[in-house]
Amino acid sequence: MTARKPLNIFFAVQKALFLRELSMRFSMSKTGIFWTFFEPFMQVFIMVLIKVLLFGNSNTNLDFVAFLALNFTAFNMFRNILSKSMGAFAGNKALFVYKQVKPIDTIISRVIVEVFMTSIIIIAFIILGTYFGNDLDVKNLPMVVVGFLWLIVFSFSFGLFIAVVDTFYSSVGKTINIIMSLAMFFSAVFYTVDMLPIEAQSIVLYNPLTHFIEMIHGYYFYALDDKYVNYDYIMLWTITLLYAGLWFYKRLEERIISL
């Protein structure tokens, strides 16, 4: 057998893992697939309903449906990457008998699958939004893309860090699950930071996810801006988590393989 270059091995492994994850998603449970696509629509629908019932159909410059769709998409992507990363080592344990499969590969492939799913959901939202005549005009598309890409790196870093730590201290994962079940309310998903009273603003702005979502919808909608986003703050989060994640991973990789 001729020796392959490390990068070629990496791509072969990623391709194999990606196709495997996808086929498992699509073959295992039909309801799982249904909910992957139906959940975001449900979320938007319910929130619009609540808003109309509580506040009436107020006329603002902001297309509230598009606003919710965008925020939920970004938030769900983060949430799913995190939860899938946490299960990646245990779920792929059987594959570590192949020495070219490193534990971190299983996280990377799950991130890629989530990004892929998110892209499909975005396309579905664009089609539906165009059909129903929603205002989908983008103020600054490149910066929205940067926002999403940055959020992906942040989610991966967070996921890797938690996955490694959770392998040895399982209470960490449980704590994160509890935090994540509440995170949606503190992440500017169905409001903007600007709408909040000042005391509440300072609290939600501790949450790095708030900054990401503010950045993304701030650059998407003409009616909004990114004045509350502290880029240094989220850069610090990203670098710290990425560094800590990789550092712990490197030290513990062999122990994770032979678990």
Binding site: M1, A12, V13, L19, S23, M24, A94, K99, Q100
Partner: protein, 223 residues
Amino acid sequence: MIKLENVTKYFITKEGKKYILKDMSIDIPSHTNIGILGRNGAGKSTLMRMLGHIEFPNKGTITSDHNFSWPLGLSGGFVGNMTGRANVRFVCRLYGRTKEQTNEIIEYVKEFSELEDYFDMPIKTYSSGMRGRLSFGLSLAFDFDYMLIDETLSVGDARFKKKAKEHLMKKIENCNIILVSHEMNTLKELCNAGIVLNKGQMVYHNDIISAIEDYENINKKGK
């Protein structure tokens, strides 16, 4: 050559560290078929996994310029929710095989394993013998310098065992095996050299017969 340098491997148990290898340095010559002998719990499978680079020494290094198969056992390496076919395809992708090569391998494994309809059923519905057959057939479809075999030769009925052994005999004309087995006849038949593991020490014997004698002596003393 497989080079072990100051290799220490232990597991932590309630009574403290249990050593599999204690500061062992040894060179294992190439181009021999090696049987690994040792009593239950001596660390035969662990040694095999270390050679396959999916388990690591606590100290020291194991280096070799050969490539090793994944350890062929009864259980590992398959994903329960996927069909036999999907699992074979997955491994082909891992090893960077082209589409044509993959299809050939799939056909070969399907025929060899004699799984028939089960080949397209999820692995979790398989008996352990069926898994073993699939795993063994899959490994025969790839070329390695060393095949790591952990007791898998005892899968299937007598007829299948015979067939498996014939294929393996043909295979080892071009590659070598490292075999963990408790069947002395199999070891004598397939291996030239032997390694005896006992109480943290490993001893290499150029001749499998002397390895077996050594192992039997250890067993007698143990009683």
